[in-house]
Each structure stands twice: as C-alpha cells, then as structure tokens.
C-alpha cells in the first residue's frame, strides 16, 4: 500500500484582491478589539486540568476522535480524505454549532451536546456510546489544539426568545424575510440549496461548502428542532459563510424564518420527486 501521510496544504499565495484586503481589515479590527477586551484576562482562561486527567482525555481522543480529526486536531486524520464534509479542524477554535453569539468559542455544554448527539448528514455519530465523564475528559484536549482558548472565553448562551407559533402568517412572514435577506442567494428560491452563489461557497479552510438543502427535512447539521434552527439563525455558523441574524432580525422574525424553512421540506413531500 502506497499510503503516505500528507500534510494539509495551506494556501500561501497572497492575492491582493479587494476581498482579501477587506477581510484583512475586518480580522485586524476584530483581533484588536478582542485583544483589548481580553488583555487583562489574557492568562488563565483555560481551566487547568491535571496532567493525569489530560492524559486520560487524550487517550480517549486518540482512540475515538483522531482517526478523523487527527492526532494534532488539524482535521487531517487517516480517514479524513474519505469524508465529506471534512472533519472539524480544531486548530482555529472555530465551531459551528453553538448557543452563544457569533464568533464566540463554544461553551462546554455546546461541545458536550455536539459530541453526544452527533452531526446529521456526516460521519460524526452520536458518541452517547461513551460515558459522560469520558466526553468531558476530551474537552481539554480539544481546547489544547487552538491558542484561541488561551486568550478568549466562551460567551454566555444567548437568551432564546419566546417562540412564535407556526401559522400561515408566520410562514408568509418568513418567506418575505427569506427573500429580503437574500437567503435564496445560497439556499435557492425553493430551498434546494442551489441558489446562484451556492456554487462558489467555501469555508474558512477554503474547502468547498454546500448551502443547506432545506428539503432534506431532518438533516440539519445542528439538529432539526425549531429551537436548533432558531439558534443557527441567531448564532451563525462560525467558519462558514452562514452569518448570524441576531442583530438584523427580531426574535419573532427569526422564529418566522424557522417555520418557513421547515415548510420547505413539507412542500417537497407534497410535490414528490422533482429531479
């Protein structure tokens, strides 16, 4: 077998197009503000664990997680090449599925939740097969992979607004917002994930990424309950082009949007196969 371990190729070419400059400025501003905010508490964000505890966690990580996520947490484990979507690279401290504000590190509860329920549509299974203590022991290992955990602290979970019940009105309102906020540009007019921008999307690792196809009903990566979807709209998916609408849309509007995108799956069932 000619399998050779490959290092993930990092694109080093500097392309001075406006997009890069703009994102450079944004990152610079972001880093500066974050640093200023956190300067005073720069040390000791990470609760120290004993070497013994860490070792225990690393053993579990190596046994169950490293095959995909890599022993160094870079998302480049021996099975990574076979997977799509790619396993999370922990070295940037970017986590999609959270309950706190966009850009934040996830809370421990977020991490435990994702590990326990898995991510639909991917090979990330629900690791409820492990003891809770074992799952908890893995968290310091995940955090050790990225410096972000040394300088920042996860923000508190956001407050979830009271759910607007699903109704024809809320769905209609959601549909209007879907158009206004240009969700369709990526997710497509009918929610099939085939909007005009959907073909060129990449994530922060420059890996092509697909806009979610809402007609796939229960395959939402972060879970398919109304609350799960509401959280995605509110917290955004860090590291992906999916932004947070916490500031742009009111609570009620975000709930309306939840009901609308859920209704897209029902439409499919009514119309049967389209392709």
């Amino acid at each position: 077998m000619g399998y050779t371990g490959r290092k993930k190729e990092v694109s080093k070419s500097i392309n001075l197009c406006w997009r890069n400059i703009l994102s450079g400025i944004i990152i610079a501003v972001f880093v500066t503000t974050t640093c200023l905010d956190n300067m005073a508490m720069a040390q000791g964000k990470l609760k120290p664990v004993s070497e013994k505890e860490f070792k225990k966690g690393k053993e579990a990580y190596d046994k169950y997680c490293a095959v995909c996520h890599g022993e160094e947490g870079d998302g480049n484990g021996p099975l990574a090449h076979a997977l799509y979507p790619k396993p999370r690279d922990f070295t940037k401290g970017q986590y999609k599925i959270r309950t706190n504000a966009t850009g934040s590190l996830p809370t421990d509860a977020d991490l435990i939740h994702v590990i326990s329920v898995g991510i639909h549509g991917t090979s990330m299974i629900p690791w409820d097969i492990l003891e809770l203590d074992q799952i908890k022991s893995i968290l310091p290992v995940l955090k050790s992979f990225s410096e972000a955990w040394q300088y920042r602290e996860p923000e508190s979970p956001i407050t979830i607004g009271r759910e607007v019940p699903s109704s024809q009105q809320s769905i209609a309102r959601g549909k209007k917002l879907y158009e206004e906020k240009e969700c369709w540009k990526c997710h497509g007019e009918t929610g099939h994930g085939d909007g005009p921008s959907s073909y060129d999307l990449t994530d922060e690792w420059e890996i092509p990424i697909q806009a979610y196809d809402f007609t796939r009903a229960s395959k939402f990566k972060g879970g398919a309950t109304n609350k799960d979807i509401y959280l995605r709209f509110t917290t955004g998916l860090n590291g992906t082009p999916m932004p947070s609408f916490a500031n742009e849309l009111s609570d009620d509007d975000r709930w309306s949007l939840v009901h609308y995108v859920k209704s897209l799956a029902e439409q499919k069932e009514e119309h049967g196969h389209e392709e």
């Binding site: 021996p78 099975l79 549509g121 097969i129």
Partner: protein, 569 residues
Amino acid sequence: MNYIKNSRFLFSTCLLAMVILFSGVVQAHEEEKKPYVPRKVDIYEGFPDWYKGVFADNVGLKEGSGLFKDYYKPLFMNMYMYPGRHYEPPTRMDHSIFIEKERRDLCIRCHEGINTGAIEDWKTSAHYNPRKTPLIARKTKIIEDSIGKEISVVDCFDCHVDTEKKQIRLPTAGDCSECHARQVTEFASEKNHGRPNHIQTLESNVLVPWYQEAYKRGLGAGNAGCDMCHGATDKCDPCHTRHSFSAAEARRPQACMTCHMGPDHPDAESYGESKHGIIYELEEEHYNFDKPLAHVLVGEEYRTPTCQFCHMYQGGGTFTHNFVSKGIWRMGTVPPSNIEYESSLKDYPYGIKIIADKIDIHSDENLDKRDKWIELCSNCHSPRFAGGWLTQMDDYMFQAFKLTDQAQKILDDLIADDMLYPSPADRDIYPGGDWLADVLPAELLGDGVWNAFKKTGGKVPVIGPILGVYALFYQGDGNPTHIETSYAKMWFWYKLQGYKGYAHVQQDIMWWWGQSPMLQELGNIQTEAKRMRREAAIEQALAESGKSVSHSRGGSGDSKSLLSKLFDW
C-alpha cells in the same frame, strides 16, 4: 334439531381448534426460548484437511493460498477478493466499542456519511425490508422457520461482525449460509463435478506456477486481472452484488458477464450476439426477473433463455445454484477419449493427477446430461433440432481436437529431434521450474513430468494443454518459443472460443474466433516447423563444411548471444 346439532358440532370443533392453536402457541413460545445458535455451511466440506489449511484458513496477507503459498505474498486487494483466506480487519479505526455495545444504529449513522451509496443500496434490499414483497415475505418466513429466529431486519452488524472474535469481518458464502443454507449448499455441490467450477476458482488461480512467476518478476499487481474473477470461491456478491443482494439482479445474464467474457471464455460475446442474447436485449423489459426460475412461464416471461435459465437447470423443471452439473465438455479444453490420437495426446493426462482425465463424451453420465440439455432446449425447439445441434457441436469439437493432435505431433517431433529454437536448454526456466517438483509430489504431477522438472531444473519444453498455457501469461525472450505459443493459442483460445460459439449458437464466433484462427495457427506451426528444420539443415551443412554454427540445434547448449552468432556467420 339439526340446527342445534350442527351448532354443537361447530362449537366443539372450534374448541378443539382453539386447544390445538393454543398448544401451538405454547410450543412456539418454548421454542423461542432456545438460544439462537447460527449454523453455517462449510463449502470446503469433503476436501482433505490440507486443502482447507491452504485455502480456507484465514492468514490475512501474511502468506499466499494453495500449495505455492510460500512463493508469493498476496496483493493488498486480495483481502477483498478472498475474504475467507486473506481478509484483515480494519486497523485505522477501532470498532470494538460499537461491537461490544452492539450499536447497530451507529454503524449506519457513521457510514451514511462515508459510504452513502452502500447504505442507500442496502435500504433497497430485502435485508432492510424482509417483507418487501409477498414473495420475499414468504421466503423470509421459510428462513425464520429454518433458523428458529425472527427476522425484522438484517443490518450491518449481522453480516459484518464476527461476534466471537469481536471484530469486523468481510462476509463469506459461509456467513451468508447462516440464513441461506440451501443456496450455499447447492453452490458448494459444484465441487463434486470437478474443475472448472466456482468453488475451486481460487485453486485454479494459484495452482498455476505463472501466478507466482508474476510476483517474482515484479509484475504482481497485474494479477488482479485474475483475482477479481477467481474469487468467486467463497463469495456470493459476484452475482448478487452488494449491498442490495438482489435475486432478480442475479437472474439477469449481465450478472455473469463481468467474468464470463474475453478470449479465455467469450460467453458474454457468444451468448450476447446470438439470437437468444439479441432477443433478450431487445425485449429485456418483458422478462420477469422477479420470479424464481422454476416458476418462470417460458415464452411468456422469458422469450429466450438466459445464462441462469440453462446453466442452473437440473432437469425435471428444477433449478439450483449448481451451474456445472450439466457440463460435458468442461471449458472445451479437456481432450475427449472418443477419438484416436497420433501425437503424445494419446498419453494425456500423462499421469498428472491435478488435471482432469480425458472425457468420454458418450459415457452414461454424459448422455444423461445431454438428455437434460435436450429437455431444456425442447421448451422451445423440437427435440430433433436440439439434439441435432448438440451432436453437431460434438463433431466440431472432435474435429478441433484432431487439428490439435496434428499440431501437437509437429511439436512432439521437433522436441524429439531437439530442434526447438531457442531450445529449452538455452532459455529461462519454466516458471517455478526449480521448485515445482519439490512442492508437488510425483503422485500429483505424474512421474514423467516430475522427473523432467527434477532432471532439467525446469528447462522443459511446453506443449499445449497443461504446461503451455504459460505462453499466454508470461512471455519473455523466446520463453517459450513462437511455435509453442502458437500451439497454446490454438488450444486455449481458438478451440475454446469456437466451442463457446457453437454452444451458445453464435455462428460468427464459432467460425472466425474458432475454426478459422485454429487453422491459421496450425498453418503457422507447420511453417515454423519447416523453417526450424531448414535452419537446422543449413547449420548441419555448414558444420560439415567446417564452419561451426551451433546455436540452433536445441540441446547443444551454446549460450552465445544472437548477435555474436550472427557475426559467426
């Protein structure tokens, strides 16, 4: 009164029926309590222990298969071709936690993300839905009764987990037999008819020393071309492809065609281009492949026969998974005993025990087989027509073997006169020629061949049927010679191809891939022999006039390069 009598009778009958039913329930309930112990069919049952030791026992990729197992290391992919012998469980991912906790759901969750196609395929299968159709439900019921276990779904865990060793396995026919015992037993019965059969395909693959020669020459990766078909030994998925494992799919002629094609067995070509095959192609959608063969309405549901319909037929309207029970001519490569031979073919098989004896085409056993063919063909044709065609095919084969006999006589004489060029003494040894006789005892190889190998260290001429097929696998530097290769082609390709053309009624293949090239090769052999004899005569004349040119005569042992020999001229 009558009414009351009747109702009394009815009442007591009902009571009786209820008692019977109830006792049945109790009985069934007791049966359920018995722990489920899987029973498996041993496809190698009846083979000697040494045979199982080199073909059945799992050794992973550490060593090869068969008697020459120590002379090659299997290719990586061989673990998938021959799971029983060579599979090694995955090491990159430790699956033990899922096995210990029997988390069937997690197999699917994870692999849906990796091998989506395989999972979706399985979801279309009867394994996923054992009551998918009324027919499948009936079959499931039969399986449930025979194994004493209720089946709601057959999932990844049932086939891919070795619960004893607590590791992942790649299922073999033996594993499938846990539920499909009848089919696997039928399949295993092929071995009772001698090679060629599916059960001994692995044996046929590695018994030939040119298989190991490829590895020795650093050409092993090419052997996958052999391995992919010769792994039908202990697998069911060559026909019932994973993970839908459909019976209907395996009833289609295409199921056979990935292996049964090409110059060594052009079954796909000869059937596919015959009227039978063409009509099938044109009217495929009218064929009912959902039905078991025994229930097919001939004419209405199959306008022409398929590979399966003919080769699985056992007479009396029955069909089994034994494809070789009616085979008379085998692959068209074994000489018949019904004709007189001029050449050394009369001594065939030269005491060699690992190949078949000559076939008596008219033996009682073979005449019985012939009757079954005629019975089958008579579904559509008159028995006179069917019998006439088959008799004519026998005649074609007798003629073909007469032509072969002529060619072999020419080679026999050249060897006797030591006129092969390059002579066996001047060329590389026969593949494995230096160790073959150490591994295969004289009782298996026959005294003559065994002694020849021992005496010459493998520098033997290769004549046609047994040794000579080597010529078609690994050529090199006059080894073997052009004339020996021509003979091997005549034997193993053209006679065989012509036979397939005749048997599957494809006239063009019978003639242009069979009779015509056979005659062409015979012509080549005759011409080549004349040339060799002429050259030998010229050398002789030159030698007598004082100019010694000693490279042509076989055994004279001069190993000068061809160029330097030319300069001598």
